[in-house]
């Protein structure tokens, strides 16, 4: 399995292309944008893009959908029935989806947004904005922060230390590193969170 990381300057977001060289199929996680570099990578590898997985419906993670779906006939998967005006196959917590020759496990981790999902493919966890290297996703209340921290601890950080965290922003990490050093999981951190406006939330 090949992973291609693309850094989108729109929202400083991470876009991931997961390619299966056996089936020559690929999926995209969080298409923040669709540009020549990403398209070139799909075409150069002769991939058929079959699926798009959306961790949450914020513009800087889905803006590329419009372009992508003009080019490829891909199924969109998200927590909601539609994203950016495009119909989606709605996913639920604990579900597994088989596509592109891989199994995608779905974890619901609300807090940063009500529709936040984490996807696991093999030992890779695509955490969107729920979990970043060293931090948890920004929330608008301490209630949401506590909810998010609890879900992360019980569903994501109970997995193997070596599993890889591929977040929606910033550098990658591993489950073991986040369990030991994530600031957002420190006792009392979530309770101190206050509401604050930010364009790129």
């Amino acid at each position: 399995m090949k992973i291609y990381h693309h850094y989108s300057l729109y929202g400083f977001s991470n876009v991931y292309l997961v390619g299966n060289d056996d089936t020559k199929e690929a999926l995209v996680v969080d298409p923040a944008e669709m540009n020549a570099a990403l398209l070139g990578h799909i075409e150069k590898n002769d991939y058929a893009l079959k699926a798009v997985f959306v961790t949450h419906n914020h513009p800087h993670h889905v803006r590329g959908l419009k372009t992508l779906l003009k080019i490829y006939d891909a199924q969109v998967y998200a927590a909601n029935a539609s994203v950016a005006g495009f119909p989606c196959r709605a996913l639920r917590d604990g579900e597994s989806v088989s596509t592109c020759g891989v199994s995608v496990d779905v974890f619901s981790v609300p807090g940063h947004s009500p529709d936040s999902l984490v996807f696991r493919i093999d030992g890779m966890l695509f955490t969107g904005d729920a979990l970043h290297a060293g931090l948890i996703g920004k929330t608008l209340s301490s209630y949401n922060a506590v909810t998010l921290a609890d879900r992360l601890k019980s569903k994501i950080l109970d997995q193997a230390d070596e599993y890889v965290i591929l977040p929606g922003h910033g550098p990658p990490s591993t489950v073991g590193t986040e369990r030991r050093f994530n600031v957002g999981l420190e006792p009392g951190y979530a309770e101190r969170v206050t509401s604050r406006y930010d364009f790129f939330v």
């Binding site: 090949k2 992973i3 290297a133 060293g134 996703g137 910033g170 050093f181």
Partner: protein
């Protein structure tokens, strides 16, 4: 991407080592497995999807190589040269580095979380989207490097130089620091407290 296959030894939660079904600790001949991996590393200019967790690297010259999607989790590096090498999506979590040279290297989208880094040169290095959270870094230089979007959260940094560095979007919130120099670096563009997060 490197394998996430578990070690075949019952009860072991580690990942299997390159070329086998067991982790290095449960391999009946770890020296032979390490020698095979070392020969491969020295023979090839490009390493893809290698699973070398826990391996010990001593005195190797791996300059001007390229590594993609490799796991070096928990590995030990002593007197290793990575001068001018490229690392994409490589993981060095919980690794130990001593007297190594990454000068002129290009490290993108990698993780050094929880590692221990002693007397290492990252001079003139591209360290873009790199995770140093929880890392204990001592007597190490990052001078003249581009650290764009990298993170140093809850680590311990002692007597290190970050002079003439690009610190744009760098999260520099260590648990402890002493004797750290930022001379000539754009510290105003770094995030140094949790009140000013972009996320």
């Amino acid at each position: 991407m490197h394998t996430f296959q578990r070690c075949a030894e019952p009860g072991c939660s580690s990942l299997s080592f390159h070329g086998g079904a067991l982790c290095l600790a449960h391999n009946p001949d770890p020296a032979a497995a390490t020698a095979v991996a070392q020969t491969l590393l020295l023979a090839e200019d490009v390493g893809k999807d290698l699973s070398l967790a826990g391996m010990s690297f001593v005195g190797l010259d791996l300059s001007r190589r390229k590594y993609i999607g490799c796991s070096f989790i928990g590995a030990t590096f002593r007197n290793v040269l990575f001068t001018g090498s490229t690392f994409l999506l490589c993981f060095f979590d919980r690794a130990y580095f001593e007297a190594c040279d990454f000068s002129g290297a290009n490290v993108q989208f990698g993780s050094f979380g929880g590692s221990e880094i002693v007397n290492v040169s990252f001079e003139n290095t591209e360290l873009i989207h790199c995770n140093f959270d929880g890392a204990k870094i001592r007597e190490t230089t990052f001078n003249d490097s581009n650290l764009y979007d990298s993170r140093f959260i809850r680590g311990e940094i002692d007597h290190c130089d970050f002079e003439n560095c690009d610190l744009k979007r760098v999260y520099f919130i260590p648990a402890r620091q002493s004797g750290v120099s930022f001379k000539g670096s754009n510290t105003m563009e770094a995030i140094k407290d949790l009140e000013h997060l972009y996320l």
